[in-house]
Structures are given as structure tokens and as C-alpha cells.
Symmetry: C2
Subunit: 338 residues, 2 copies
């Protein structure tokens, strides 16, 4: 059975009661599934989702009866930390794109906490957002499947989802990391330190493995003491760089896999007036003003927000094509004023 | 006539029809006023607002009939530019505070455009936000009076409103600018250049007049050629600083009245390897990494967002006290690593 997709509230638009009847469950059970009550029997959830899919039920049809407009006119954006310039560039671009589509953006920070991610996204769904833009932090995004089934499109930014298929916009981490290592190797460096945040973050794993592969291809001996991960704050990074520089065979160059790691390394290199070379992933506004020679794996973070929001608004408008992945390129830029 | 303020939907809660009857106008007129249709006769607007005030009508009472929760659970934040770290710090703190109050934050950028401000704020009101946090850009915020009357509290951040009384959180611009000039004068400077953004921005007028007063108190001769306003972009600022430094009597020190102006000045001073002293209003993450000696008028931008959001949620919870103004202090910090 198929359902007409027009905007009017036609007589055949399926209701929650229809879903309950087809699924053979109570209306209360349908309501609990649709509202993400976590204690529903998984077998009942499957029955409800099957009926939702068969009938083409969409929750926003319900909202149409309650409101003068057919949508809430808001979309949600979940990022790690709105105060980090990488994420505020994404948010600014997504907010602008939302306004161009007569919508407004709800924003919240996951703080890289999976449980908080889940809670904030479901809280956005409770507010009947028309769609979600998500930089995922949790290990699994399967909990969004119900929401997607009942008609809230989701686009992932910077990191792909786990246990879910959906549109995704990524940075070309492999290209960026490879070019950074090739640049340092071409400059004659053989002891290259790599600074990484938590490896449970997708971009860190991608960048680190691409860097390791590039080092191997260049014939640079593998040096586990020069690879440090788990550095999530600037003080963590500073301490790790200090230790690396104080070791018997210190690196002659560092590759920092995100903007926070770059700032931590810069602090130490500046204080020591060190001539250790530095390449950092992610551009930042004052990169060109730094006294220390600095090369940046540059990309347009705003582009992630823009492309992701455009994909989302096409889905909200009804586009039904298969989920796609878009990759935003990187560019190596020598940024030093020195 | 007064109305009980409890949460239940009591029989005496005034409706738009009551407002229409008391005002002696049609229901349609009430609806047009409540929904900010701009073409309503001002005399009719006054009649409707008088009835709103007499009856204690609140629009959210209407929403209670349509939704399972009594509020939309969202608040709006309008800032100049989400990608500017001063504003993203405000947004991050306000978003966090919203979550603590079971609400979520809708964010948009005015781009310092008064008409855009009005359009975006009324667009937030259409989405039935529970309250608004606003860095005002327009010359007049009188257009928000209806919205405030029908029960949407508004708190202003960084700049006070015009033609409206409401809670306001400001930075201590006078203290910051005075201490900056006193610091430079104590270092022996007599030719101090001042760099300002557009003077229609409240903070610029406050900081510039406090700087001029401090220069006068210090007995430094007034030099109009050393005061430049209207610098809104980094390239504008760079060009102005170049011209100032190339003049017959160049400044020996510069005072930049916001973070963008500081970055513009730093770019020129770095390129020229100039020893002109620099004090900048607004801290920024990489200030301590700059090669050029840099002193900062530091303040906690997040504090503006936090204090403003706390005030807003107290109003949303029903606090009826007179509007208050809170001033966040500044602190002069020598930030140079050099």
C-alpha cells in the first residue's frame, strides 16, 4: 500500500491508530515507540516500524493537524563544542543555509559524550525538528532509526554514523594526512612525531592510519615512541610534546591531527624557541600570525555545514534517493609569516 | 482585573476573543497584532496592547491547548556572527544554560543588519520561543514591545536596547578602555592610535569616549589623525594601520577596540616587524602565542551568555521584578609570549 505524498491533509493519511491496527499492538505502544521510550520490547518496536514503513506513516502529518504550518521550521545541529572555531564555522554556515530555506537552527554541543548526544538529539526530536545535522560522538547511532523511519531526515557531518545508513559529509582525511607527511619527508625529516586526540574519534583514526601508511611508503622507520594519541586538551598536548622533545631521539618535525593539538604544540615550540617543524590539520584565523613556521592542512569547515544542510533540506523537501557521501577536499598551505 | 498565574488551564484564562471584546476590535485584528503584521493601524495596536495588559493575556496560554507541554522548550539567541569567537563563546554558554533548564537554543546571526535582526527575531517568535537573548544591531527595538507584552521575555547582551526597557548584560567598556589608555600612558606613550569599528555600535562609542576621556585626563594632546573609526573588516583595519604608520607623526602605540581590529593591527605590525605597542579589547585563544608584545583587555564573553540566559530563565519562570542591568568586569592582561 502506498500513500499520496501531497501537502493537503487527504482522507487516507495514516494515523497512529492505523499503525497500531496494522502492527497488531496498542496505540500506547505506537506512541511509546514514536516518542523513543527506551523500555519498549524490541520485538514490538520491529512490528511498529514495519507498519510505519508499510503505511508510509509520518509523524509530521500529525503535527499538521495541530499547527497552521506543516513543519516546525527548525532543524537541529549537534556538534562537539560550539566554542571551537572548527565547529562554530560549521554552525554559522548551517544557520545561514537554514535561513535561506525559511528555517532556523537549534544548536547543542555533545562534548564528545555519547549518552549526551543521544539525549540532546532525542530532545531536538521532541521539539519536532524537520531534520538533524549530526557530528556523531556515540559508538552507535541505531537509536535514530525510528526517528528516520517516521520522517525526520538526518545528515552526518565530519564522521559517518555507525549502524545506520544516511547522508554523510566528510573531510578528505586521507589526502590531508598523506600530503602532510609527504611534505615533511620531502623536507628531509625522518623523525616525525604525530599528535592525535582520542582514537575513538573517526577523523583521528583515519588521519593517523593515513599518516602511518605515508610514512611506510616513504621508507621512514616506524617509531612508536613518536606517535601519541589520547590527547584531548591543550594541556595534555603540551605535556606530551614536552616529553617527546626531552627524549633521547626527539622528533625534528610534528604533525598535529587537529586544531587543538596544533595550538598545544605551538605553545611548547614557542616557549622553547624550538626549530622543530610543525604541520597542523585544520586552519585557524590567526595561523598566519604565528611566529613559528607553520604549515596547515587547510579545508573549508563551513563547507561541511553548507553541503550538509543543503542535503538535509533536499531530504526535507522529499528527495528519496539512496544516501550519499560527499567528501570535501583539503589543501596544504604554508601559513607562516616568519 | 487580575488573572491567576497557576499552571493549570483554569476557566478564567483570557483568550484572544476576550482581548478582542475588551479592546473593541475584531478577533482578526488581535491576531494580526499578536503575529506582528506590520500594517495594523497604530491606534488599534495600542487598544489591543491595553487589553492584553488589562486581562493578563499570554500567547503561550493558547499554545497550551495545542501541545502537551506548556512551552516550546526553545529560546532564541541573536548575535552578530556565530563564526566570531566572541559570539561563539556567548552562544556556547547560553546553549549550555538552556540545556540545564530543559530548553534548547535557536541561534542566528544578524550580520550587524537592523532589518535582518527584526526579521530573524520575529521569525523566532513565530516558532513560539519561550524567550529571546539579543545582541541588538538595529537602531530601535520598539518592534519587540508587543512580543514582550504577550509574554515573551527578552534579555539584551553586550548592547542595551533602544526604545524599550529590558534586562541587559554589558561588559564594563568604560573600565576596560580607561585601563588600556592608563597602561599605555604609564609606559610613556604620547602618540596613541585608537582603532574603532562603526560608531553606530554601542560598545565602540562607549570604548572610544572612555579612551578619549582617559587621554584627556592624562594630558595627552588630542590628535584626530590618530583616531580611526568605521573599520569593520580585517582588511579595512590593515589599510588604516598602514596609513597611520606611514604618516609624518606615526603612533608609538595602538589601542584596538575589538578582536577583529586587534588581528588587523597584528597583521601589519608582524609584517613590518614594528615595535609599536598594541593593546586589544577582547581576549582570543591564540593571544598568548603572538610574536608581537600584546596586552589584552580581557573579559569572559561566556559570562555574558551565562548571566543573560540565567536572567532570561528567571523571567520565563515568572519573575516580575523591574528590568536590571548587569555589568561584567574587565581585566588588563599582558599576554605576550615575546
Amino acid at each position: 500500500m502506498s500513500t499520496p505524498m501531497g501537502n493537503g491533509a487527504g482522507p487516507h493519511r495514516p494515523t497512529m491508530a492505523d499503525v497500531a491496527r496494522v502492527a497488531g499492538v496498542s496505540l500506547k505502544t505506537v506512541s511509546r515507540v514514536v516518542n523513543h521510550v527506551p523500555t519498549v520490547d524490541p520485538a514490538l518496536v520491529e512490528k511498529v516500524l514495519a507498519a510505519v514503513s508499510e503505511l508510509g506513516f509520518r509523524r509530521n502529518d500529525m503535527a499538521r493537524n495541530l499547527r497552521s504550518r506543516s513543519t516546525s521550521g527548525t532543524v537541529g545541529l549537534l556538534i562537539e563544542d560550539l566554542a571551537n572555531p572548527f565547529y562554530s564555522a560549521i554552525a554559522a554556515a548551517a544557520a545561514e543555509c537554514a535561513i535561506d530555506h525559511d528555517a532556523m537552527l537549534i544548536t547543542a554541543s555533545s562534548e564528545e559524550d555519547g549518552e549526551r548526544e543521544r539525549r540532546l538529539l532525542l530532545s531536538m526530536c521532541e521539539r519536532r525538528v524537520d531534520g538533524l545535522l549530526v557530528v556523531p560522538a556515540a559508538e552507535d547511532q541505531g537509536y535514530l532509526r525510528t526517528e528516520i523511519e517516521i520522517g525526520t531526515p538526518v545528515v552526518f557531518l565530519d564522521r559517518p554514523p555507525t549502524n545506520l545508513r544516511a547522508d554523510t559529509v566528510l573531510i578528505d582525511n586521507e589526502q590531508g594526512a598523506r600530503e602532510a607527511i609527504e611534505y615533511l619527508v620531502a623536507k628531509g625529516h625522518e623523525r616525525i612525531g604525530v599528535l592525535s586526540d582520542w582514537l575513538r574519534i573517526y577523523t583521528m583514526r583515519q588521519r593517523l592510519s593515513a599518516a602511518e601508511a605515508a610514512l611506510e611508503r616513504a621508507g621512514v622507520p616506524y617509531r612508536p615512541d613518536l606517535i601519541r594519541d589520547g590527547l584531548h586538551t591543550i594541556p595534555d598536548t603540551e605535556a606530551a610534546v614536552e616529553r617527546m622533545l626531552d627524549s633521547d631521539q626527539p622528533p625534528t618535525a610534528l604533525f598535529a591531527l587537529n586544531n587543538r593539538l596544533t595550538l598545544g604544540a605551538l605553545g611548547v615550540l614557542n616557549r622553547r624557541r624550538s626549530d622543530v617543524a610543525l604541520v597542523g590539520f585544520d586552519d585557524f584565523e590567526t595561523a598566519a600570525l604565528m611566529p613559528h613556521p607553520l604549515t596547515i592542512v587547510s579545508h573549508d569547515a563551513g563547507e561541511l555545514g553548507r553541503v550538509g544542510a543543503e542535503l538535509l533540506f533536499r531530504r526535507i523537501a522529499g528527495e528519496q534517493s539512496r544516501p550519499q557521501t560527499v567528501v570535501v577536499p583539503t589543501r596544504l598551505v604554508e601559513r607562516s609569516a616568519g
